[in-house]
């Protein structure tokens, strides 16, 4: 992993994923380890994302490194028409590591080819967001004690939701059974079903919330109105994919509810007090997994 960019979760092998998760656990039990003292990390947010940026900034500070960069493109030279290539060439002369978020898909892969220093993709449009996937994996492993042989429910927008796609690819290394719960218009794309078939992984598709007693993990996502071509269809399905506390009554003791946040209305607030709700802790895990990824890439751990 040393000196290698992280653009897509599939850049890491199963062994490398497990290594990162182990490092993350170490950072959770001891978060202040200034292993990157003297290093400079460039944080380039070509589009704003307060949540992801704060998580990275916290991780960088806890590792003792310094941050330079910008928080949205309007304050950078890209508004003057500078190409991504030129920005990356310049910044990679200054920094030891680049964290980049960009609205264009594939921008992180391209940046990694132009940069002298490793790039960590903090989201490239609707394409990849590997550090989110890593924190999801960490949350699942931490709450279940393992990543192997789990029954994973994925609910909501399974068509456009990039977190779902990346998580699906990563979990496929651990022999899961998937239950895809989505309206027809938001169902899981065929290419992912082909991928699962080729990997020999079982999956079921259902249009309504049900069979929840089988679940080890319930991964909820936003169903966004603007994704629907027919607004009537949205009105019809919007309440079908809302999780309410009563629905968790007969579920397994080890079940945890995850959500990449921010949520809209897909998890009713009455779930928040249920010990099976894990989405707030999940977000906190992002700091430890990002510390683990950065220290592995910088070769300090």
């Amino acid at each position: 992993m040393k000196n290698r960019s992280l653009v897509s979760i599939s850049d890491y092998s199963k062994k490398e994923i497990l290594h990162i998760l182990e490092l993350a656990a170490g950072f959770e039990s001891n978060p202040n380890q200034p292993l990157m003292r003297g290093k400079v990390v460039a944080s380039l947010f070509f589009e704003p994302s307060t949540r992801t940026r704060l998580s990275f900034d916290t991780a960088i500070n806890r590792l003792g490194a310094r941050v330079v960069g910008f928080t949205d493109a309007s304050s950078s030279s890209t508004t003057k028409g500078e190409t991504l290539k030129d920005t990356i060439k310049m910044v990679s002369n200054y920094a030891d590591l680049i964290v980049m978020r960009h609205p264009l898909e594939g921008s992180a892969r391209y940046a990694s080819e132009q940069s002298k220093v490793p790039i960590i993709n903090a989201g490239d449009g609707a394409n990849q967001h590997p550090t989110q996937t890593m924190l999801d994996l960490y949350s699942i492993q931490k709450t279940q004690g393992t990543l192997e042989n789990l029954d994973i429910f994925m609910v909501g927008d399974l068509k456009y939701g990039r977190t779902v796609h990346s998580l699906l690819m990563a979990l496929s290394l651990f022999n899961p059974t998937f239950y895809f719960v989505a309206p027809k218009e938001m169902s899981i794309p065929r290419e992912y079903k082909t991928f699962l078939k080729n990997m020999g992984i079982r999956y079921f598709e259902q249009n309504e919330m049900g069979n929840l007693e089988k679940a080890d993990i319930l991964y909820m996502t936003r169903v966004q109105k603007e994704r629907f071509s027919d607004p009537m269809e949205y009105e019809r399905v919007k309440n079908t994919y809302v999780l309410k506390n009563a629905m968790l009554a007969d579920t397994k003791d080890n079940l945890k509810v995850l959500h990449p946040l921010p949520r809209v209305n897909e998890i009713h607030p009455d779930v928040d007090a249920n010990p099976k709700a894990y989405y707030f802790e999940q977000a906190e895990n992002g700091v430890y997994t990002r510390m683990a990824i950065m220290s592995a890439i910088m070769g300090v751990k």
Partner: protein
């Protein structure tokens, strides 16, 4: 061998005849092979009757012998193309084209949000499906299919 076929392939002394091009793809083939930028003698015919398609096109390039990698680029738009290598007015070799494992710099990514459509970048695709044609973009990771295929 029919008289018509004889006429079509025997007109050049040395060079390459590319036969069985779908008529609609003729100009794509010309542009992919850069034939619009070379000084060799080139003749072509189009809207010829064909058993395989509605209408086919044929290109004859004098004194030009293509490398395998070079000619395979046309397989995306002319998968059934046949090459006749001509020396001294004789067909000395016949060749098919095959779809390569990787396609570099010929095809446009169909995804408008792909970085390659917004900055000057040479496109790169892995061919995931050679039969139905699915080209996976090295950058945005989306598949461009036959229906969405557009040349640079």
């Amino acid at each position: 061998m029919s008289k018509q076929k004889q006429l079509q392939v025997s007109a050049i002394e040395n060079g390459t005849v590319i036969d069985h091009i779908p008529a609609a793809s003729l100009f794509d083939v010309i542009s992919i092979l850069g034939l619009d930028h070379i000084s060799n003698l080139i003749t072509f015919g189009t809207n010829l009757d064909s058993h395989k398609f509605d209408k086919k096109a044929i290109i004859k390039v004098a004194d030009k012998f293509f490398e395998r990698d070079e000619i395979n680029k046309i397989s995306l738009v002319a998968p059934h193309a046949k090459l006749n290598i001509i020396r001294d007015y004789e067909v000395v070799e016949k060749r098919d084209v095959t779809i390569p494992d990787e396609v570099i710099g010929i095809v446009k990514c169909f995804n408008p949000k792909c970085v390659t459509n917004n900055e000057s970048i040479i496109t790169r695709f892995k061919v995931e499906d050679k039969i139905d044609l699915a080209l996976k973009c090295h950058y945005c990771e989306k598949n461009t299919t036959r229906d969405e295929l557009q040349m640079m």
